[in-house]
């Protein structure tokens, strides 16, 4: 019988306003890290100066783009994992509250689990899942992809298509950014199946790393997403071939179809011929799990029951999930909001088609439509006067005017804001408020004691050892923590390479400072290749940032992460960002040196990616 273990990394959007002025994201990130270090029992992160490991075994850090990220400790049941996701969010909420209290009454700090954003930058916030397994990694894509594509019917976050500028509802907006069936890339050209296999565990273990998921609010959706995927992975590990006969002719087309289909009834083409709906494919997987319970973990019964119940609801009475699943809750709320604003589904479709025609007219003359105001199109010097005249006639034929389109655009922005606010962390979040009012049916038994989980690690596995060591060593000199080890202040190491370790095994006393806590490629590069430090010079920061970027696998986008890390090292370990009194000098240095750093990167991999464009 397999022994599943899994965890989730959740990225959150953060925003702050001071009075009416937006706060800088690097400033917010710095403040969060400072508060975390001051208030939480922790050890510094062996990987990143922007991160800490917490007493519950979790990791909190700042990722590229200066957004906070919480990684749960390793868990052994879906309910436990859901509890730790909630615990991480409550911790983030407390940190944000503290930052807000420090910054003064005119400041508001907001954190969102929002998956996508709608201003056209193409940014997304990931929710990555990791599943420990011992299967042959090469065998997994075929076995997992049918499940990953079709689980969307209960694991979709709901929202609007972020690739267009009219309000087109979809079941899983972030998944519309997925462009490949299989990929090793995690920040662009993402795949349904991610081939990264950095086990973060000892020999014999692999880690399935799934990118094509979304952050969720509903407990039912979270538990189902994790539980079913863990079961399908376990079935693959047991050689049950869960993907047999379910191979999709075009996984990407199928993913986008399921992600856009609120009926869940669209037929997907199978590679062997024939078609099946997402519900039918999920039923096949469920039945396979039910027939093989003896080789699945004891908790499989509970997941199968919830799985069966939810598929039945989706098939027979879709309205009944409108208080259960994230996407369905949003769908009902958005439709109601539009109706309250006097926009029927039909009118919405018609006005959306008008926006598409204006987009096409602008595209014909080489103008990007995002950011173009309607008033400028209607002005005497309109760049597309003929098209405007034609559309005006079509509007009049429907007894509509430009004011109606303007009203519709306002509704669109309002819906985008509602979607973002739906998953806002804390009491202002719309989901939280609906839950408080008792009108949702998403709760799952056994996701309780979230406050306890903020401080206590899971009962089983290495997360418990990690958490206990952190509690003992917090605040002690040079102690640091990684996923696979804890290094004490005396250099002794706690080996956590066994994910199911139950007893602390320390070695040392003078283990080298840069060994297995970091991934091998990082350890070598970072330890050995630091240039002789010409402190405070341009070259040091530029070269060091370049090395850090290489060590991160040369990801596209977000060069500031490496840049600020290099600045931090230059300062001798202080968090990056501009400290009081130093901001002018550093900012000048950053501007002056950025060109050199970008040139180095350009030589290695072409120009750094901008934040514009829909495919980040």
């Amino acid at each position: 019988m397999v022994r599943p273990m899994f965890g989730v990394e959740s990225e959150y959007a953060i925003a702050g306003v001071n009075g009416r002025e937006p706060m800088r994201h690097d400033d917010l990130a710095n403040r969060l890290v400072r508060v975390a270090r001051r208030q939480l029992t922790h050890l510094p992160d062996a990987f990143s100066s922007w991160g800490v490991f917490l007493a519950n075994g979790a990791r909190f850090y700042i990722d590229c783009g200066f957004h906070p990220e919480m990684t749960t400790p390793e868990c052994t049941t879906p309910w436990e994992l859901a509890r730790y996701i909630k615990a991480g969010e409550r911790t983030l909420e407390r940190l944000a509250e503290e930052v807000q209290a420090e910054a003064g009454a005119a400041t508001e700090i907001m954190c969102f689990r929002c998956n996508v954003e709608y201003s056209g930058t193409g940014s997304t916030w990931g929710c990555h899942e990791s599943y420990l397994h011992r299967a042959d990694p090469a065998s997994l894509p075929e076995q997992l992809i049918p499940h990953l594509v079709t689980r969307v019917i209960y694991s979709g976050a709901g929202g609007f298509n972020p690739l267009v500028n009219w309000p087109e509802f979809c079941v899983a907006p972030r998944l519309l950014h997925i462009q490949r069936a299989i990929s090793g890339d995690s920040t662009g050209n993402r795949g349904i199946f991610h081939t990264k296999n950095e086990s973060l565990a000892g020999d014999g273990y692999n880690r399935l790393h799934i990118l094509c998921g979304e952050s969720l609010c509903s407990e039912t959706a979270i538990v189902l997403k994790i539980g079913t995927t863990a079961l399908v992975t376990a079935m693959a590990e047991e050689g049950l071939k869960p993907g047999a006969g379910l191979r999709l002719e075009s996984p990407i087309e199928a993913l986008h179809a399921v992600s856009s289909d609120v009926t869940c009834k669209r037929k997907l083409k199978l590679a062997r011929g024939g078609e099946a709906t997402a519900i039918e494919i999920q039923r096949r997987l469920l039945e396979l799990a039910e027939r093989n319970r003896e080789v699945l973990p004891p908790w499989a019964d509970g997941i199968c029951a919830l799985w069966r119940l939810t598929l039945g609801q989706l098939e027979g009475a879709p309205d009944s999930v409108a208080t259960v699943l994230d996407w369905a809750i949003k769908h009902r709320l958005f439709q109601d909001r539009a109706a309250r604003r006097g926009i029927s589904v039909q009118r919405s479709a018609f006005l959306s088609s008008i926006i598409q025609r204006l987009n096409a007219a602008l595209a014909d003359i080489g103008v990007q439509s995002r950011g173009v105001r309607l008033s400028s199109l209607l002005a005497p010097e309109s760049p597309v006067p003929q098209q405007v005249a034609r559309i005006e006639k079509d509007l009049a034929a429907e007894k509509l005017s430009w004011d109606d389109l303007d009203h519709f655009l306002n509704l669109r922005d309002e819906l985008y804001q509602i979607d973002t606010r739906f998953g806002q962390i804390g009491p202002r979040g719309i989901f939280t408020e609906l839950d408080r009012r008792g009108v949702l049916d998403h709760k799952v038994a056994a996701i309780d004691q979230v406050e306890v989980a903020m401080d206590e690690p899971p009962a089983l596995g290495r997360a418990r050892l990690r958490g206990e060591a952190i509690r003992r060593l917090s605040g002690q000199g040079q102690a640091v923590c990684g996923w696979m080890s804890v290094t004490g202040p005396d250099g002794r190491k706690l080996d956590l390479s066994d994910p199911f370790a139950a007893v602390e095994v320390w070695s040392g006393p003078t283990a080298p400072p840069d060994d297995e806590g970091a991934p091998p490629h990082l350890a070598g590069d970072l330890a050995s290749d630091i240039p002789t430090r010409p402190e405070g010079t341009h070259d040091f920061i530029a070269q060091r940032a370049y090395q850090l970027w290489q060590a991160r696998g040369r990801p596209r986008g977000s060069p500031e992460v490496d840049w600020l890390e290099a600045v931090r090292e230059l300062r001798g370990g202080e968090p990056a960002g501009d400290p009081p009194g130093d901001s002018g000098r550093l900012r000048q240095m950053r501007i002056a040196l950025r060109g050199r750093y970008d040139r180095l990167r350009t030589r290695a991999q072409g120009p750094p990616e901008t934040t514009q464009g829909p495919h980040r």
């Binding site: 709608y118 919830l306 259960v324």
Partner: protein, 63 residues
Amino acid sequence: MRQRERQDNRPPSGGGGDSGGGLDHLREQANRFLAAGDEAINHALADSDSEAFLRANRQHGGE
């Protein structure tokens, strides 16, 4: 209304109702949900300009 906890095969409250009473119950439940949703949204959006909100939340980077 108390939150329903889901870990077994119980049908959703009202979900299996096919009588007139069941439909009324569903309708009432849906109306209560929508009224609560409207209030929650109005509370969340109080005094905010959606266009300005989206501009302030424009992200740089992210995954």
